[in-house]
Point group: C2
Chain length 318, copies 2
């Protein structure tokens, strides 16, 4: 069956949709500024479960994942729209008050103004679509398409935590657990933090040749950069910054690498650029995990056993 990525590539080509395909579309705003815009849909029982989270956290995550797309362009978020579809039974609770509280608390934290959206009824599941608009200096948006052979590959923060948190939730553990490390992993899943500041620093300093946010997992998201840039990549497993709480779940090193490479929803940034320049910039909390190669579309993974070729195993809807 075709994947959603194939489908999008296909309609993009068929209808000449040149602005489709990055984390955000880039639009001209004024003489000095470009505007970026993104939309993200979250669906009950596909992207979240009511018994795993809270209305406030759902609202916070709905905005955070779109802010992460803005971060992935190096832009500053400014405005948000939120469309919310609710079953009648949920409307009759205080879900929406709490949802908007969560959404608007995050909005306020990042100085984002909520300017509109829609409120609709659904037959039986909650659906959310969040749209965020950001600004960036003209021509400075960091696309997926600029990676060059020889560039180093970096990620912000730690990897695999959100996906481990999801496994914990699936196994019956809840946010209310008294185990602090498990709680932190579940928090990575339920309450992602968009890397706005690092994104803005990278665009302001002109350091990143390509960037994407880690929503589907390193394997899938790095492949997007490789495809759009016409390059390949080599990843060093021993360099991957595993989430510090992964030990809690007693995984072996291969399982940890699997979570870090394929686990979705960490919402960290993955970017490429010149090693020397980036090293000189002393950005906090970033890790060099590999380098861009000329082997178009091929991602090599180097571990103690040698070199293997990575298949994208990150999250796909279809």
């Amino acid at each position: 069956m075709r994947s959603e990525f194939d489908f999008i590539q296909n309609i993009k080509k068929k209808y000449g949709l040149n602005k489709v395909g990055d984390d955000c579309a880039v639009l001209p705003k004024d003489a000095k500024t470009d505007m970026v815009i993104t939309a993200d849909m979250l669906v009950e029982d596909i992207d979240f479960r009511l018994d795993w989270t809270t209305p406030e956290l759902i609202g916070a995550k709905a905005l955070a994942i779109s802010l992460s797309d803005i971060a992935a362009m190096g832009a500053k978020p400014v405005f948000a729209l939120i469309s919310l579809g609710l079953p009648k039974a949920v409307w009759e609770t205080d879900f929406n008050d709490k949802f908007y509280k969560g959404f608007l608390t995050v909005a306020r934290h990042y100085n984002v103004e909520m300017i509109g959206g829609d409120l609709s009824r659904t037959p039986d599941k909650i659906v959310i679509d969040s749209t965020v608009i950001g600004n960036i200096a003209k021509g400075k948006a960091i696309l997926r398409s600029g990676a060059k052979p020889g560039d180093s590959i970096y990620v912000t923060g730690e990897l695999g935590g959100a996906s481990a948190g999801l496994m914990l939730l699936e196994s019956g553990c809840r946010y209310s657990t008294s185990n602090d490390r498990k709680k932190q992993l579940i928090t990575r899943q339920l309450r992602p933090i968009p890397q706005i500041k690092t994104g803005e620093q990278l665009s302001a300093l002109g350091l990143a040749t390509a960037m994407i946010d880690l929503s589907d997992g390193v394997s899938s998201d790095l492949l997007h950069i490789c495809t759009m840039s016409g390059v390949g990549a080599r990843i060093y497993c021993e360099n991957l910054p595993y989430d510090r709480n992964l030990d809690e779940l007693s995984f072996n090193s291969a399982q940890q690498a699997g979570l870090a490479l394929n686990g979705g929803e960490d919402f960290e940034l993955l970017f490429t650029g010149d090693e020397k320049q980036i090293s000189n910039a002393n950005l906090p909390g970033i890790t060099r995990i590999g380098e861009i190669t000329a082997n178009v579309g091929i991602i090599e993974v180097v571990d103690q056993k040698g070199v293997s070729f990575l298949q994208p195993k990150g999250f796909r809807h279809f």
Copy 2:
């Protein structure tokens, strides 16, 4: 139970969301231009039924209803984003190819560029959220809040057809009917036409003091203008431009007036302004249906029997 309108007013006030509450939010773009933006959600079995329409028509309508919000500001639509949530079984059909074909055919017709969105999975119903961005000369967006006592009230086109089309669909009639007038009514429901050109003319000529598109019905939508403008209104039933095909359904005049006043989804424009100026402009296809009064929040309906007070009976989700 509180309505969605009360809820929106409440969070607007509570969180100081000043840009929320019109057909579109108005944002500064550059020295000469403002940007307007709107989002609209459509949900299967709430807003459309798969056995009543086609994937192409759903795609066309998803864009058309957002274009209608752009028209209601007097703006020119420029960009669109579409988020589509599909059950797996629908993904495996050609629904989405046909949906995007319908969407993009309308986009092309209005010179709107599709720039992004999202593609997601839902448990069992189709959900669509369409976002459209438009441009308008700075300060020229026509808000809901500018109506003044003494202004005349106008609508474009004919009223009640979309809602009569919905009744036909509910009674088992289909688009494939050989009755041409019934087909036209069903078309009003399934394939709305946004009044972009008239909207742009009204803003270019500076003729409208307030404007809204008729999505919920005259009674509800006129009340939005009255509430936002702090005015009242008087409607003359004999002036209402009933859809020419309503006779087909052998309604009496009271039923026709009910459809024209409360029937949703005609997606015509309702606007207010100076009678002389508007008359002199010779705009095609508009009808004067009443006038704005100083009786704040009260809508009087004048028919052969005298004056009654209109209760908003238009479409509400909750």
